[in-house]
Amino acid sequence: MYLGLDEPVRECQYNQICTRNSLPMETLGHKKKKIPRRKWQVFPGRNRFYCNGRVMMARQTGVFYLTLVLIMVTSGLFFAFDCPFLASNLTPAIPVIGGVLFFFVLGMLFRASFSDPGVLPRATPDEAADLERQIGAANGPSGPGYRPPPRTREVVINGQTVKLKYCFTCKIFRPPRASHCSLCDNCVERFDHHCPWVGNCVGKRNYRFFYLFILSLSFLTVFIFAFVITHVILRSNRTGFLSALKDSPASVLEVLVCFFSVWSIVGLSGFHTYLISSNQTTNEDIKGLWSNKRAKDNYNPYSYGNIMTNCCAALCGPLPPSLIDRRGFIQSDTTQPVSHSNGSSMYASTQLHTHMAAATPLLHSNSVMIGGGGPPFPGKSSLVVPCASLAPSQPSLPSMPGLSCAGDMLTLRDPDTHCHHHHFASPEETPSPSGPMPLTLPCAAHMTHGGHIHPAQLYDPASQDSLHEDSVRGLVKLSSV
């Protein structure tokens, strides 16, 4: 090991004492050989990414596969069984048009399912702290453990008063029309709804694809329905109805699927056409936000006034880029918000350990890896909650919140000027902010000795130093044996 202890007994004992530090050391060395991670790998929402971050979907994708199977099977049967007859007896344009429609439907479906719906990235710890400070100043002082009332801001848009809500998970004030999807655990801009058929949220960036998908699918469904019926009728004119059905049994299945789909899909297309022409989202329509029933002079402040402009804006307007940059590499000097996705616990505590290890004379790791995407820290690790918020109280917080603090604080752009500090709390203690006093640990650059952080216990710096001395003494004893 580090001190050249070879006997297994001593190694075991050595490990026991500085398990917390030795493991990150090993993984640190291991991490150096790893390629830099991409941002999607530490994305905090409950999304799934494929193709190295190019494809982004919701967690539950079962219904999406059902959609895909239904479309492909029905269309496949149509092309295989009905088209030959129709092409030869009516016109070959039928399979061509059908084919074009089919590929358009699939294209729009994939575009709607795989693209970023307009997810708002979570606030960096600095921003969250700044907002908390502003809200705290506005609300007035409150005692510890007291959960402040829901935070809202009012803004007047085009003459209508709109309330902006504060999202406790993303730590931002949601822009107007944005909403937090509980299934994906993201705030989405111009949130329409979460569509299980498409396997993704429908928001600002993929609404037009969704609309074009259901529109073209309704055309395809009606097309297939109509021509399958035509096929059966033409056949039964020649050979009788029952034998016509026997000759092309697939037609029965197609008719059934199309019949039941037509009602729902055409209905949905009609509904969304109405929404687009009035520039509303499903969310707003369901809540009746802009209906006249709420208040006499209630109107939609986002509508452009006439139907054509609303339609053009929704369908042909500029496509905003994705704000989450999922394929970007994690830079060592950028702040990363909390990540609890894909079961990976955060890196921050690892970095902190290495940071302190650098200052600790016994452990000789010289390089400190700073930044996001570290290896998972085993077991219950020390956690860092955002510095400013000693009262993280929303129930939607995962059990490992606010690890971003260390990630941000360790960005030593100005190491000599900023002295960062970190709060530590074990997972059990996080929900009760009025619990034991959080541990403060000055920045390693300013420390003469790093401390050991016991995950389940919190110390004030004084006893932490003595603990360190004890452990140093223990190590010295071991090495001298």
Binding site: P121, E127, I157, L164, P176, G317, P318, D414, D416, H420
Partner: protein, 139 residues
């Protein structure tokens, strides 16, 4: 308690290092930032300069999201080509974002860096805030 006040001081120092300009939603969901001059920057830059920077940014973002003949044409063309056209060319929005990045770089070089401030591109913050980072002069 001694620990707490040290904590608070450090907290203040850490927070005061960045100044955030929030979004201005009075015109709807268009990307605009508030032009109100924050008090923390009073000692560093003058109000006119700040307002001009933010207003130019606002204008650039408005240009990116503008609805007009060219954007409709781009949208229709993209739809007809099943959006494969964006494999070859950039969207109008992306072009303007590049312009904005250049503008911010320019502003930093000419105006803000000499005064010990660093303006970050809002796109890196998800278009939520424009942040000014104070560089300390002690080193």
């Amino acid at each position: 308690m001694a620990t707490h006040s040290l904590q608070d001081m450090r907290q203040q120092a850490a927070i005061a290092a960045k100044v955030f300009i929030q979004r201005d939603y009075t015109n709807g969901t268009v990307c605009q930032f508030q032009t109100k001059f924050p008090s923390e920057l009073e000692t560093r830059i003058d109000k006119q300069q700040f307002e001009e920077t933010v207003r130019t940014l606002n204008n650039l973002y408005a240009e990116a999201e503008k609805l007009g003949g060219s954007s409709y044409l781009e949208g229709c063309l993209a739809c007809l080509t099943a959006y494969t056209i964006f494999l070859c060319m950039e969207t109008h929005y992306e072009k303007v974002l590049k312009k904005i990045a250049k503008f911010i770089q320019e502003q930093n070089d000419k105006i803000y860096a000499p005064r010990g401030l660093l303006l970050t591109d809002p796109i890196e913050r998800g278009l939520r805030v424009v942040s000014f980072r104070k560089q300390c002069d002690s080193h």
